[in-house]
């Protein structure tokens, strides 16, 4: 399963859950595969790094997003999931989304709130996000 398929499946998944989202969202000098906001009322932001197989690199990226995002997930195809990946993601507080061959997505591990969050960076990411959404709507 290619990374683009993982991204597509994840976008569908968070859309169903009511998130507004953007793919390829610039975040802290990197590009998050998916960044979203669960309605202004709930005010929860989410960043998702999608990887076809290199989950270590994915977790490294995901850790950085924790500085500016409430919940951070790594999304991988089902065949990539191992105990080692799950343990490492759990240790870092990164959630795990698993994409099965039918392109359905399940949450294998919930994201934990991290101590790394810097409120001003979160605020800036969110502000850019809403501006971009307005531009796209406009």
């Amino acid at each position: 399963m290619r990374e683009a398929v993982v991204v597509e499946a994840v976008c569908g998944f968070i859309q169903e859950r009511g998130y507004a989202f953007l793919a390829e969202y610039p975040l802290l000098g990197k590009v998050a595969d998916v960044y979203g906001l669960l309605s202004l009322e709930h005010d929860r932001t989410i960043a998702i790094e999608c990887k076809e197989r290199d989950w270590r690199r994915g977790l490294e990226q995901a850790r950085r997003y924790q500085l500016a995002t409430d919940e951070v997930f790594l999304a991988v195809p089902e065949r990539v999931v191992t105990d080692e990946l799950t343990q490492e993601a759990s240790r870092l507080g990164v959630g795990l989304l698993v994409v099965v061959p039918s392109k359905a997505v399940r949450i294998a591990l919930e994201a934990k709130p991290t101590t790394n969050l810097i409120p001003s960076l979160r605020g800036r990411a969110l502000e850019h996000f809403t501006q971009r959404l307005l531009l796209l709507d406009g």
């Binding site: 802290l28 000098g29 850790r63 950085r64 810097i118 409120p119 001003s120």
Partner: protein, 436 residues
């Protein structure tokens, strides 16, 4: 007594002049590439006189032997040679018609007369380029800057040089150039040794060291092309140290053309100075990357003596106090100012500030703001100045290495081994070689 070790800054583009002037207390001397001088002589000349610091002009003669496409103006279907290189070729006594069309080869300099004529032109250019530009500048002659005329001559002139690839016969040309220069000058006999680092086997190192030790060179820049201190193996690093050490032991004052902190460690193996740029100038490939847009702003992380992404700065600094930031990461003028203004979070916010830009393909991308660029660069210049002072004032290599290893361990806990692995290699390479 403090160790003598020259801190040189290399001007990469005209846009960097403001950094050079504002940061003039951070370095000892400046290196100007001849093509940059040729591209805007008046502006560079005024910079030199305002700066009032010694300067060198790197004649960049090696560029004429590279793929000629690199000497053409950018743009599809535009085969025009770059004006600065055409003008430089003419100033060096060569027919500029070859620029951008074909490379020079060592055959061009087969007879001694050709080498002598070329070297004479190249050296004369370095001696006179700034002075001539000022003489042509009426505004300068009538300004208060004219009393700074003593700064118009270079600190030393460099013989023409081509990059040694152990194949094309350039070593013979280089050595004859040095010899011509030595016999024609009463000043410091300067040069540059460019070596393709990918060919730097122990045997080639021994050959090079033996050859250049026998020249009349007093002072030379050493450029290992395609050499990345942070990625090099222990063997490559030790080879660099041995070459430096041998030449220093023969009385040659060697300076790194492009160097990071490893080149500073080589002060303990006889290196006399090191040069770097304002952004990414601690290494340079033989054939520079072309295009790709503005490089991302990066943060020079003092405890690991390397650049990290701004996101990694966030990871390293998240959750620590201001005092911990000062003791573990940085307390340079820039960081101190930002810490006082907004604490650690505020500092991270300032360094990671971005703005949206539209790309040529219509995508919106976030790039560092001009302010973030300025902050990262002045921070880098400031930390580099501290590093040179550390090397000058620390008595033994073991003290420097001990501090380096200890400081990097804390970062390893936050960023992993990928951010610190080079420190172990530097340590091992230095241990494999002896002081001069």
């Amino acid at each position: 007594m403090a160790r003598e070790f020259l801190h040189l800054l290399r001007l990469g583009t005209h846009a960097e002049q403001d950094y050079v002037l504002r940061g003039r207390s951070f370095f000892d001397a400046i290196v100007l590439n001849a093509n940059l001088v040729e591209g805007s002589k008046s502006a560079i000349a005024v910079l030199v006189t305002r700066l009032q610091k010694p300067y060198f002009i790197d004649p960049v003669t090696y560029a004429f032997a590279l793929d000629p496409r690199l000497l053409r103006s950018a743009g599809p279907g535009n085969p025009r040679p770059k004006r600065s290189f055409s003008a430089l070729a003419a100033a060096y006594g060569l027919d500029p018609g070859f620029v951008g069309v074909r490379p020079v080869t060592s055959d061009w300099f087969a007879d001694d007369g050709a080498v002598e004529d070329f070297a004479a032109h190249v050296i004369d250019y370095q001696r006179t380029a700034i002075g001539n530009a000022l003489a042509d500048d009426a505004a300068f002659l009538t300004s208060e800057l004219s009393d700074r005329a003593k700064w118009v001559g270079p600190h030393a002139t460099l013989a023409p040089y081509f990059v040694e690839d152990f194949r094309d016969g350039w070593r013979n040309v280089n050595v004859r150039s040095l010899s011509t220069h030595a016999s024609a000058t009463r000043d410091l006999r300067g040069g540059a040794i460019g070596v393709d680092s990918r060919q730097l086997t122990p045997q080639n190192i021994a050959e090079l060291a033996g050859t250049y030790a026998e020249t009349d060179l007093d002072q030379a820049f050493m450029w290992l092309t395609n050499f990345d201190e942070h990625a090099a193996t222990v063997g490559q690093l030790a080879g660099y140290a041995r070459l430096t050490q041998f030449l220093a032991s023969q009385g040659k004052a060697m300076m790194a053309s492009y160097g990071g902190f490893y080149s500073l460690l080589l002060a303990f193996r006889g290196l006399a100075g090191s040069s770097h740029g304002i952004g990414y100038g601690d290494k340079r490939d033989l054939e520079p990357l072309v295009g790709g847009g503005l490089p991302p702003a990066r943060y020079y992380l003092r405890p690991v003596r390397d650049f990290v992404s701004l996101a990694d700065l966030g990871l390293v600094a998240a959750g620590i106090s201001e005092d911990e930031f000062r003791s573990r990461i940085c307390q340079c003028t820039i960081c101190e100012g930002l810490l006082r203004e907004g604490g650690v979070d505020g500092l991270i916010e300032q360094f990671t500030e971005t703005e949206d830009r539209l790309t040529a393909t219509g995508r919106v991308v976030a790039v560092a703001t001009p302010r973030a660029y300025r902050l990262t660069r002045f921070h880098y210049m400031s930390v580099r100045a501290e590093e040179f002072d550390l090397i000058r004032n620390t008595e033994t290599l073991n003290l420097v290495l001990g501090t380096l290893v200890a400081e990097s361990r804390w970062v390893e806990g936050r960023l992993g081994l990928r951010a610190t692995a080079h420190i172990g290699r530097w340590h091992d390479a230095m241990e494999m070689t002896e002081p001069v």
